[in-house]
Each structure stands twice: as structure tokens, then as C-alpha cells.
Symmetry: C2
Subunit: 391 residues, 2 copies
């Protein structure tokens, strides 16, 4: 195989990527280590173009002789390419699903994960240099889910993968998996779509708008041209809080935090008669979630990927979602999380109903909410082994 010859030399990982950069042994790919691939210029669905695009990706396992064992795993909104630990130090975000002996067994399958265009984990994004060497910032174009999928198809070409055994994703990763199935039906044998529907709904768009505004209204955002200056951390942190509430369930918050104060802080006590008070535990928790994201994610990428997610609609230009799905050619594996109140199980049911034939909806039984697609993905292992990963 000629994968190594075809891909560009690994670029530097972004400063925010917390993982080790392993040295590849000669002639041997190391699992779970970031590398990049140049895919050329990309015309965009909404108009505009990116003159030179690089996709960052990781792989696990070995592509077999007829390139029939390749699996593409798609990350969610603030996710990255580090699906499984591999030879790196950092654990992966789907280690319970992907790895040696796991349902997606990297001793049998060749697994690929690419960072979305517009992201901040190595692929061309708003912090990348434009042709003049300046960060794109406010000039980075509007990209859609379909733009990312078309870029990933070029990566597949360069990796020598004509057809994926499976494309797998949850949440926004599920949106990309679904678009793969609809855009390239002959290149996707199995399409695994977890915790997302056929399109972003009005409510999902509304929540996304609030998050985007939280960032845009931060004076440090400067319309996206803040590189080299103070980044809009407060705005990004607020966006994360809004999002994180939607990722979890009400019982989860009640069980973990109730009305307790944080440590010795008293939420019903003012200092000096002024409007200052201690924090509730749940406030401190969301402060922490915000702080963690701000340290690892770029605000421009958050805006760009969130607006890409708003664009998610398999029916656009295809006569509507129902019609588009009824003509789909892959084998679909659909799953939802019982307590998900961002991507409701009913939306997965609708998606399955519109697909050809009888498509069951598998269930992740979790109380946590949407994030069950990350924390409890192992529940799908047995069915995935039976239906999709049968090698």
C-alpha cells in the first residue's frame, strides 16, 4: 500500500492539542498519532472556496490488500481525531468502542478519523494561514457538513480507500456519517448514525444561535480577528455552558448538584450588602466546563462548526429529507440515547422510518442525556459486532 507516500509530512499539532506526537517507526504507521494530508483547493457549497486544504487525521490498524476493511469515525462538535489511544499516551474518546479486541477491532479494521475543516485540531481552519501567511480569522468562509464530507472523500482517495466498510459517528459526527451515506452511497457499506436526526431542527438551530452570539458579542472576538490578541474566552465559555446544559439531563444535574453551595460558598449570603453571593455547585461545575473548553478550543472554530451543524439537512437539494433518505443505498445502523433532550430519540425514529426497509433504532440506555453517546457507547458494542463489524 502507498498510503505513506501519498500523504504529506505531518504538520505541527496545534498548540491546543494535548497529545503526544509519536515518531512513526520506518514503514510502520503508529496508531492514534496525528498526521496531515493535503487535498488541494475546495469549492464550497455556500459559495467561496478554500485555496489549499489540509486535513489532519489519525489511523489505527492496517488497511488490507483490497482496502475493504476501512472504517471512518467522525468526531462531534468539539471533538478531535483521537478516537482511541493507540500508541499515544492520551486515552481516546471512544476507547470502549475502538481498539484491539474492541467492537471496532483495530486488529481487523483500518480505522481513520479526520478533523473537520474549520476545526482547530490540525485541519485547515480559521487559525490557519491564508495564501499570504496571515490567519484567516474573520475571512474564513462559511462551510457546511457537506463541505467536510467532500473534503473527507478526497482524503479517502489519497488513502486508497474507494469504499468504507463503515462510516460511524455520534452527534455532529453522526451528521457527517449520514451525509457520507447520502452523498456517496457507493462508497459507504454501513452507515452508523448515533444521537442525531435527519436535519438540525428549529430548536437545535435556536440553541446554536445563542452559542454563536455569546462568542460574537464578546468584545475580544473582534469579528474573528483576535489572533495575536486576547481571545474571546468569556464568550466561548458562555457558549459552552449553554451547550453543556443541553448535553446533560435534568435528573443528572439534580442528582449531582441539587441546590448545594460550592464548598464553603453560600449562595444566599451577600457581602457588604452588595449584590455578591456565593455560587451554587452547579454554577461552579459549569464554570469548570467552560474553563476546560476555553483551554483547548478556538472560538472561531466553535462558531464555524456550530454554523456548519445548523446547516445539517440531508434533504437540501434532494427533494426533502424523507425523499432523500428513501433513496439511500447504504446499510444503516441507527441509535439514540434514551434521555437525550437535544437530539430526541423521536428524531432518530423518524430518520429510521424514512430509510428504505425496516431499520431498527438501537438504544443507549443512559440517564446522563445526549452525552451518553460518548460515555455509554459501549452499550452498542454487541449489536455493532453482530450487524456491522463482523470480521
Amino acid at each position: 500500500m502507498t498510503v505513506v507516500d501519498r500523504v504529506a509530512a505531518p504538520a505541527e499539532a496545534p498548540a491546543s492539542a494535548p497529545r503526544e506526537r509519536g515518531e512513526a517507526a520506518p514503514g510502520l504507521e503508529r496508531d492514534g498519532v496525528l498526521r496531515t494530508c493535503s487535498i488541494g483547493a475546495l469549492q464550497l457549497e455556500a459559495g467561496g472556496a478554500l485555496p489549499e486544504v489540509e486535513l489532519a487525521y489519525e489511523t489505527w490498524g492496517t488497511l488490507n490488500a483490497d482496502a475493504s476493511n476501512a472504517v471512518l469515525i467522525q468526531h462531534a462538535l468539539t471533538g478531535d481525531t483521537h478516537v482511541a489511544q493507540g500508541h499515544a499516551d492520551q486515552p481516546g474518546w471512544w476507547d470502549s468502542l475502538v481498539g484491539p479486541g474492541k467492537p471496532v477491532d483495530t486488529d481487523r479494521y483500518f480505522v481513520v478519523a479526520a478533523n473537520m475543516i474549520g476545526g482547530c485540531y490540525g485541519s485547515t481552519g480559521p487559525a490557519s494561514p491564508d495564501p499570504d501567511g496571515l490567519p484567516w480569522g474573520s475571512r474564513f468562509p462559511f462551510v457546511t457538513i457537506r463541505d467536510s464530507v467532500r473534503a473527507e472523500a478526497r482524503l479517502a482517495d489519497r488513502l486508497g480507500i474507494r469504499r468504507w466498510h463503515a462510516v460511524v459517528g455520534g452527534s455532529m459526527g453522526g451528521a457527517r456519517a449520514l451525509e457520507w451515506g447520502l452523498t456517496y452511497p457507493h462508497r459507504v457499506r454501513h452507515c452508523v448514525v448515533v444521537a442525531i436526526g435527519a436535519y438540525s431542527t428549529a430548536e437545535q438551530i435556536a440553541l446554536a444561535q445563542a452559542q454563536v452570539l455569546a462568542i460574537r458579542q464578546d468584545p475580544n472576538y473582534r469579528d474573528g480577528d483576535y489572533y495575536g490578541a486576547v481571545p474571546p474566552n468569556a464568550g466561548l465559555g458562555l457558549a459552552r455552558r449553554i451547550a453543556h446544559i443541553s448535553y446533560r439531563s435534568e435528573p443528572e444535574f439534580s442528582f449531582r448538584f441539587g441546590r448545594r453551595g460550592q464548598g464553603a460558598e453560600n449562595p444566599i449570603e451577600a457581602s457588604d450588602g452588595a449584590a455578591t453571593r456565593g455560587r451554587y455547585q452547579v454554577e461552579s461545575y459549569l464554570d469548570h466546563q467552560a474553563d476546560k473548553l476555553v483551554r483547548r478550543f478556538d472560538a472561531n472554530s466553535y462558531v464555524i462548526l456550530t454554523e456548519a451543524l445548523m446547516s445539517h439537512d440531508v434533504g437540501r437539494g434532494r427533494g426533502g429529507a424523507e425523499r432523500a433518505l428513501s433513496a439511500a443505498g447504504s446499510e444503516f445502523f441507527i441509535a439514540s440515547v434514551t434521555s437525550d433532550r437535544l437530539y430526541f430519540p423521536e428524531q432518530s425514529e423518524q430518520l429510521a422510518r424514512w430509510l428504505p426497509g425496516e431499520v431498527p433504532v438501537y438504544t443507549i440506555d443512559a440517564k446522563i442525556g445526549h452525552d451518553g453517546f460518548l460515555t455509554e457507547i459501549g452499550q452498542l458494542g454487541p449489536e455493532l459486532r453482530r450487524r456491522v463489524f463482523t470480521l
Copy 2:
């Protein structure tokens, strides 16, 4: 009766109050017209004090000779005292519940509605002058639901009302009604609590935190000292968007807006290859909701009342909510909205279960979500006539 003698002369209505100021006919109160009452200094639960408090209020109907027909109606977070139209031009927000011949019949009952302290519809709030004549701004103290209820008890004293026939409220108004029942059991015969539970839950606190941060992070907020300068409209507008999503249901958004673009705007079209695109209808709708609130509400009041709502907990200092409720002395009428996903019906069920005796939970059957307590309150009319307003 000596009501007119006991209350202060009507103050000027706040600039943001959109309603007519009627002239009272000599010796006759006009229904639904704003007036104010001085209640003196108020020590606050969390520490601190307000040296001189005025409460703005409206009334409808006539207090009877033994003052046994008085009803207090409590407004929600951004509500005001204009419950019913009365002699004013502006319709009221509960006209279907309150008025001549309505379930709360103002030909039979004397209805009172007071603006919360900290608000911006006439009662002492952050825009009010401090003893030096300067707006309180950042120095306005932290107030709780209980502080408001204690202030309202003084208003009741001045109006000659020893015991309310009923205290009625929905959402944050329900929190105040409930606190009345627990704080002054001998002064509340019937306590009508709609679409709220015994305390603000972790999730309700989390959503409130996001809204407060949206305002605090607006550079025009200046810690609350923005009077005379540009107010933090962007922050207040974002807070409203976050809140409004929680007030409505997912099916409501899907039904009304789906994925449609606003007018001729195309959400999947970039101008000049830049990251600008048209808006979805739901974005335009939330822009409109934000704009409407910004024109009528003060950001400081939004922060202060939201933090007061976070403080809602009938169990504080009373051995917990269950114990406090089990000792309650009023007759309770509890109701919830079927599609409410901010104040879940289960939370009303819990509240009813903890009250003494068998307390049913009545249901507003509405698809709209929490706001059903405003738009569909008429559904409770027959049961309220049967159980509470029997004159």
C-alpha cells in the same frame, strides 16, 4: 375603608411601562392603574438593607367591609402589575383569568398585583435613586423571593388586608405565592401555585447562570452602573433568547419555524465567500423576542430578579422542603403545564405530594411549553371557580 388614605400618592410610571396613567375619579379607585405605596426600610434575608422601599401596584374591584375578598396575583420574571385591563387601554397578561365575570371576578373580589422589589415596573429597584439621589446600579443589594414576600405583607397591612382570600401566581409568581403560604400561613386562605416546584433545581439555576452571565459579560453592563450611558442591550437580548427557548417546547419551534429561512434570506448562502449567511426563521424570531424585551426591561432588574429566582426554596431554614410543606396551613391549588420542560410537571407533583392531605395537580394541556401558564391559563378557570373563587 381607608385604603386611599393609607397609600402614598402615585409616583410617575417608569419610562419603560407602556401603559396609560389614568386619573382616579375622586373617592374611586380606577382598576388596572399603577400607583405606589411606601413601606419603609427593609432588612434583607441575605444581609444588607434598603432604607426606603416603594412598591408599585394595581388593583381591581373593591375591598369588602370585612376585607375578606382580597386576592393577590403575582407576576413572573419579566412580568408587571398589569394583570387585567381594567380601566386602562393596555390589555392585561391574565385577562382570561381576571376581570368582571372572569374566574377571578373583579365584581366580587378585590384584586391586587405588586411589582417585585428589584423590578423595573415602579417598585424600588436598581434604577431607583438611593438616599443621595443616585441610581443604585451595582450597589443594589441581593434580594430573595422571601424579601419580596415580606415587602408585599407590608403593602397588605397598608391596604387593610389581614388575610388574602387567595394568593395566585405562575412561574416566579408561583414561587412568591408559595412563599406567602409558608411564611404567613394565617394570612393566606388559598394558595394557587402554577408551573413551579418547591425550589429552583440545579438545572433551573444553571440556565439562570447563563442568562446572568450573558448580561454581566456585555461590556456596556459596567457591573450594573450603566444608567445615563448605553445599556447592555446585547447581553440582555442574549439572556432573553436563552430563557425564551426554555419557555417554549421543541414541537412548538418545529411546527412554527422548521428549517425555513427568514423571508428572502438564505441560511445556506455566503456573501463574497465570507462567513456571512442569511438567518433561519427561528433566529429572526428570537432576535425579535430579544428586541422586544430590551425595549421594555432593565438589565439590572433582569439580573436581580433572576438571582432572586435562583434563591427560591421553601425549605431553606425550615428543615428542608418536604418538612416545610408538610406543615403548611393554607389550602393549596397546584397546577402544571403538560409540555413544560423548564418547570417539569413532576416538580409540581412532588410539591403536591409533600403538602398535607390529598392535593391534586391540575393540568394545563398545552403544546407550547412553560408559557402555557400565560397563554392557556383560562383552562384552569372552571376548577378555580369550583375550588377557590366560589363567591
